[in-house]
Symmetry: C2
Subunit: 471 residues, 2 copies
């Protein structure tokens, strides 16, 4: 592995790509006019101190986003509502383009001052579908201009029919990534892979978790990227969504790092790697790691058109249980073990999710995005956290992220371990107590042929990881 | 300057410090029971994808903060409302302490489940003062439990009398920093100074702004710190609140960097340095830099008990105009130039603000915090942006941040330049066109004697900066 030399220059989505997307959504929405809000910045402590502004993914899919902008797609016509420049703004925030210049640069049919939003939408109310906004102030504004409450994240049955039509049109467009979207996802994956590599390099000298995380973050910032989600970077891998922490790291620990950046246009990567603080896996860590790696590889190989994502999840579970049988942690037939919930004891989450502008793509649509019509979440522990159950198709991007965790709350719960009885061999398991949590996650694009592993540049095998840790 | 070797271990505010602060606030509030919300995390795009949680500064002042916690100070008694641990939480976010353990570790009199908030507050409504929450969802919840709307950030006259009493009590406590607060501010200043130094070191090899900013951010993350505010790190120094950008940097440019981190407990630093991309100031850049530095030093020297902060601002303006007269950019008497608005042409903002848990401390209280009773904002351009007009006292922390900017919108505005007439010599000014913006900002603690410059470790003179850039 060689150090990257210069910043990646990110691919830029062209005006014509944005225009095609707007046309596709408008066409799919039929007579429904679709309204999309970019959103407003959120205050961190006092009102003027903001979190970095991140526009709604729906907006980012259709145009370059600025705060407080709105897009209206009505048949063949796109109208952008934006704030006109003012003098104070030039002093404090730099000059902004005139609205006429914005119309030209965005390739939209019309640009209006955002102050006209209510007046312009009034005649359209009967056929206006609104996509869910991300912040409360924008939600209130949308409710005023639409003349009705705008529901967040509702299940399909309860949603206003106009909003449902808008959601369906947007969902269909975003589910299958066009060439420009694929380029963005690859760029996010490349830089995020480099970031992981730098995290590995910083590990052996590190005393605390934050030092490793800082090396990762450094690569993203160098490229002008933000985290796509709150990173997990911890020696406590068994806490699935561990928050930012700053534990001391010790030579015998495994470090679990779930981190991805998003491109300046907002497209996400989502990578997990697990590596030893010392630079070398112990024999027991390596054994479990190889089991999880096998689950990762076998699940990735299943990512083919027409295959249901649930089958990918099941393949990962089967590989995991097979591997644990070989180690003697489980005894008995793999089918029987799987039926009794063996996989979920150590792998209590789904094998992955949709990936796109959101790291859990379109999760603001709830299970409308993740689950095909008629498919429902399982009630079983573990499986019920599966976020995706659709048949795969070329252009869909998913994560593949099996794991193995020793969660005390699970392993001490007789309701979960009981069905396994003595087929869970706790004496053997006790030998593996230096493995708290391992996850191996890649970003995979479904194509018409072989799956494309966009994160292929990130060290993954034991040999690759140990080489990276010593590089 | 030597590279820091190991992470700083931050000072930790003791339970007894927190308890004293709670007593002070409760006592000052008299019969008003004071309710403080920690707040809720904010969604970045879809609901489960959060910005890093940052609790309200009022809460952080009084206790260790967790999401959705509330503190009630009622006479001598403190009640903490917190979420009891649940099983799913342990799986996804790690085990949480039992409420009884929280009571012990926080040293509060009572801990209740947050579900009891409404019921417990009902009998107190008539004398319940609520501090402004930072997010909309918490504001709605507070309005429900208080039985009345909770106003954000209102001017004194309109505020509910109970909320005004709570605000006054909290303001008085937070204005004068106790020893624990001073330790936090010093720690934030030390690490933020080191971060600037690393930014300087990364400059000569950098091609883009983001590479310098990344080196700065790296130091903060290594220490487990977050930015206290969105950093300004740009070659476009004349844009006062420049957003994150990623311009190419060129050898002739000055780089303006306004960046500070906050300690894990939330206490802020706020430092600006301006340095040449090439490693050497041009003759013209150096000349203007020395003028701004003189304004910075003369203003700092004025930070003494009993001196009004407006006088500090006026001293910075005077130093700036005197320096520009020496360079021939202005002609005539300094007093006359100041009267005609000369300083604001190049220095159109205030010389600084309160510093504490918020980088603009207590700005959620509006000018109630920044302006003593009876003092009002000036109507004059430039001066009207002065955020603070109080008499200084030992224990107050302020920033001192004069600047010089060539803002086209100001220099081309006859309403602003007209009063200067030919006493603004544009021919001379034209020689300084390689100076777009310079600001030099320190964090200063008012003591009973000499002001304490908490950011003294950050390179500041031309010689120090050039040495750091080549180190």
């Amino acid at each position: 592995y060689t150090l990257y030399a210069a910043p990646v220059f990110f691919p830029v989505t062209t005006r014509s790509s944005f225009r095609s997307r707007r046309q596709q959504v408008a066409q799919a929405a039929g007579s429904t006019a679709v309204l999309v809000a970019a959103g407003l910045p959120l205050s961190r402590n006092y009102p003027a101190n903001h979190h970095p502004f991140r526009a709604s993914s729906h907006f980012l899919y259709l145009a370059t986003a600025r705060e407080n902008n709105f897009l209206l797609l009505d048949g063949g016509k796109t109208t952008l509502f934006a704030e006109a420049p003012d003098r104070d703004d030039a002093l404090w925030h730099g000059p902004r383009p005139e609205l006429s210049q914005v119309a030209e640069s965005e390739g939209v049919d019309e640009v209006c001052d955002v102050g006209q939003l209510a007046q312009r939408l009034e005649p359209l109310r009967d056929r206006l579908g609104v996509l869910p906004p991300q912040d409360g102030a924008t939600r209130e504004l949308l409710a005023r201009v639409a003349g009705r409450p705008i529901a967040p994240n509702s299940p399909a049955g309860e949603l206003d029919a106009r909003d449902a039509a808008a959601r369906k049109a947007m969902f269909e467009a975003r589910l299958i990534h066009d060439d420009a979207a694929q380029d963005q996802l690859r760029a996010a994956a490349v830089v995020s892979s480099q970031a992981h590599l730098e995290g590995m390099r910083a590990t052996r000298a590190a005393e605390r978790e934050s030092e490793i995380e800082a090396a990762i973050s450094h690569v993203l910032r160098r490229h002008g990227m933000q985290y796509a989600y709150g990173p997990i970077a911890t020696v406590c891998g068994e806490v699935l969504h561990s928050r930012a922490s700053d534990n001391t790291v010790r030579p015998g620990d495994l470090f679990l790092c779930d981190m991805g950046g998003e491109t300046p246009e907002g497209w996400a990567s989502d990578i997990t790697r697990t590596w030893p603080i010392s630079g070398r896996f112990s024999k027991t860590q390596r054994a479990i790691y190889e089991v999880v790696l096998s689950a990762n590889q076998r699940a990735i190989a299943k990512v083919r058109p027409g295959v249901s994502y649930r089958a990918v999840h099941e393949e990962a579970k089967r590989a995991l249980v097979e591997g644990l049988v070989e180690l003697g942690i489980f005894r008995g037939s793999v089918d029987g073990l799987l039926e009794r919930g063996a996989a979920s004891l150590f792998f209590p989450h789904g094998v992955g999710h949709l990936l796109g502008l959101d790291v859990h793509d379109m999760e603001d649509f709830g299970d409308f995005a993740g689950y095909s019509e008629g498919r429902l979440r399982s009630k079983a522990f573990g499986d019920r956290y599966l976020r995706l159950d659709r048949d795969l198709a070329p252009g869909m991007a998913v994560t593949i992220e099996p794991g193995f965790y020793q969660v005390p709350g699970i392993l001490h719960d007789p309701a979960l371990t009981g069905p396994l009885g003595d087929d869970l061999n706790l004496d053997v398991l006790a030998h593996y107590d230096d493995v708290r949590g391992i996850r191996i996650e890649d970003d995979v694009l479904c194509t018409s042929g072989e799956p494309e592993v966009m994160t292929h540049g990130c060290p993954k095998t034991v040999a690759e990881l140990e080489a990276a840790l010593h590089s």
